[in-house]
């Protein structure tokens, strides 16, 4: 019995890479293999050119200091103050006292906790605890930050605040972030690329826009459904509209096109009547996108002509066939 099989994954420097899966899918194991908290039975884990699986304990400990990690339950030392928690990795690395004090002050500012240094973790809210976790993880200037369900124990508002902090850190410091989650919202908000894991295997992987807008695997569709209002085949309007000469299409807008009257112009040119059956306009990280399900009621090939026009304007058009 293997927790993970056939995993072939490469994460680019500076990107935010998301791994999404249900609990028990193996995502946590996969993440913890990056810093060898879990050791693979076979294969290689290469971080910054170093094969982690071949390191002795001394080298591994050294390497782990360049990989920060934050956790769902924060995992702070309850017996020491916020300051001491953040100083912890620096003390492990035996840095001089005054350098530690300066760095701790700097990190408190970075995560927005200036003035909370003398408090104990039990005096902080969940969001503040995770900020301490982030400051602690960044203390040693790691190149990679691993996030193990970092927002799963937080309420939606705090989740968004932590996500924007992570995005901010990624941009300011250029740190590579690998996160695991079971929430599509997290992936959609900050990730550049995503891998979907199911039953210990990566079933789908690619840029978030591709995976999100055109999910192929059943599990991926389930996750996408978390953040879209209605599943496509769930509406009565979609089921009943099946008359001849009518074509149902899914049009996807990405980027600036979302805010341009592309649809209006095309339909005016071809004068094909249409009905909007379903629609979303939202954002993937910073990219606006829109997705509409339309029914075209054009006769004599008018619908096909409209589709060609939409495509020629660079829109992604998918014809939905009836079963």
């Amino acid at each position: 019995m293997h927790a993970l099989r056939n995993v072939d994954l490469s994460i680019q420097k500076g990107e935010i890479f998301g791994i999404i899966g249900h609990s028990g899918a193996g995502k946590s194991t996969l993440l913890q293999m990056i810093n060898m908290l879990e050791k693979p039975s076979s294969g290689e884990v290469i971080v910054d050119g170093v094969d982690m699986t071949r390191l002795g304990s001394g080298k591994l400990q050294e390497m782990r200091r360049s990989i920060g990690m934050i956790f769902q339950h924060f995992n702070l030392l309850s017996s020491t103050t916020v300051e001491d928690n953040i100083a912890f990795p620096l003390r492990l690395a035996k840095q001089p006292r005054d350098a530690i004090a300066r760095r701790v002050e700097e990190l408190l500012g970075l995560v927005g906790l200036s003035g909370h240094g003398r408090k104990y973790p039990s005096q902080l809210s969940g969001g503040q605890k995770q900020r301490v976790g982030i400051a602690r993880a960044l203390a040693t200037n790691p190149k990679v930050l691993l996030c193990d369900e970092a927002t799963s124990a937080l309420d939606p508002q705090t989740t968004n605040a932590i996500l924007s902090l992570l995005l901010d850190i990624n941009r300011k410091l250029g740190i590579t972030i690998v996160l695991i989650t079971h929430e599509m919202h997290v992936i959609r908000s900050i990730c550049d690329r995503v891998a979907v894991i199911d039953g210990g295997e990566i079933v789908e992987m690619g840029p978030v826009a591709d995976v999100f807008l055109k999910p192929q695997h059943r599990t991926t569709r389930e996750f996408v459904a978390q953040v879209t209002d209605n599943p496509d085949d769930g509406t009565d309007a979609l089921r009943s509209a099946n008359a001849a000469g009518r074509l149902r299409i899914r049009v996807t807008f990405i980027g600036e096109q979302t805010y341009e009257p592309v649809l209006y112009e095309t339909m005016r040119e071809t004068s094909v009547p249409f009905v909007i059956l379903q629609g979303t306009v939202s954002r993937l990280k910073d990219t606006p996108y829109g997705q509409l399900v339309l029914e075209l009621q054009g006769e004599n090939g008018g619908a096909e002509q409209a589709i060609d026009k939409l495509r020629s304007r660079g829109l992604d058009v998918e014809v939905i066939r009836n079963e």
Binding site: L60, Q61, R65, L76, L77, S79, F88, L92, T140
Partner: protein, 220 residues
Amino acid sequence: MNSLLEIDWQGIGEATADTLTMLGLSTLFTVLIGLPLGVVLFLTSRGQPLEQFAVYALLSFVVNVLRSVPFIILMIMVIPLTKLLVGTSMGVPGSIPPLVIAAAPFFARLVETSLREVDRGVIRAAQAMGATYWQIVWRVLLPESRPGLIAAVTITAVTLVSYTAMSGVIGGGGLGDLAIRYGYQRFQTTVMVVTVVILLVLVQILQSLGDRLVRHFQRK
């Protein structure tokens, strides 16, 4: 029953001092031996950073054997070892080795239990930050379990109070010795009562001191 005035107060004073010496030294050595033993028991147990079944099973067996022998019998059994270690089996010095041999395994188990209370996630976080095993012990396990460890020292010290009294049976000195020789063998019940009262006060002081420290370090 003789009056309080007839009691040999000087003798009681000396016996109290002896008891305090025995208690202090035996607690000290118990912690010095039991703490590392407890840490090793914890670290080598199942699912812990240094899981080593053979080491754990062996230590656990030795601890169980020592804990299952009644103190009064253990005391007599270890007389040869006591003589080897401190040159005598009598008086205050002679009582220290059996006290430590009896209390250290007990304390080690309490330490092991306290360490189990430490959040596994925190240990994992320390590992992820590149902590060595030594750093995990010193900077995570011991500070995080400090209230539990203080409570463990308190319980052990209180237990040692009654053990020191028992060691009076084989001439260990101290209040227990006094109570047996005067109170029991010479029918001076008042002496017996006075020693019991002193022991009671001692236990009260130890317990409230321990509780206060635990409260001070409790951060949860």
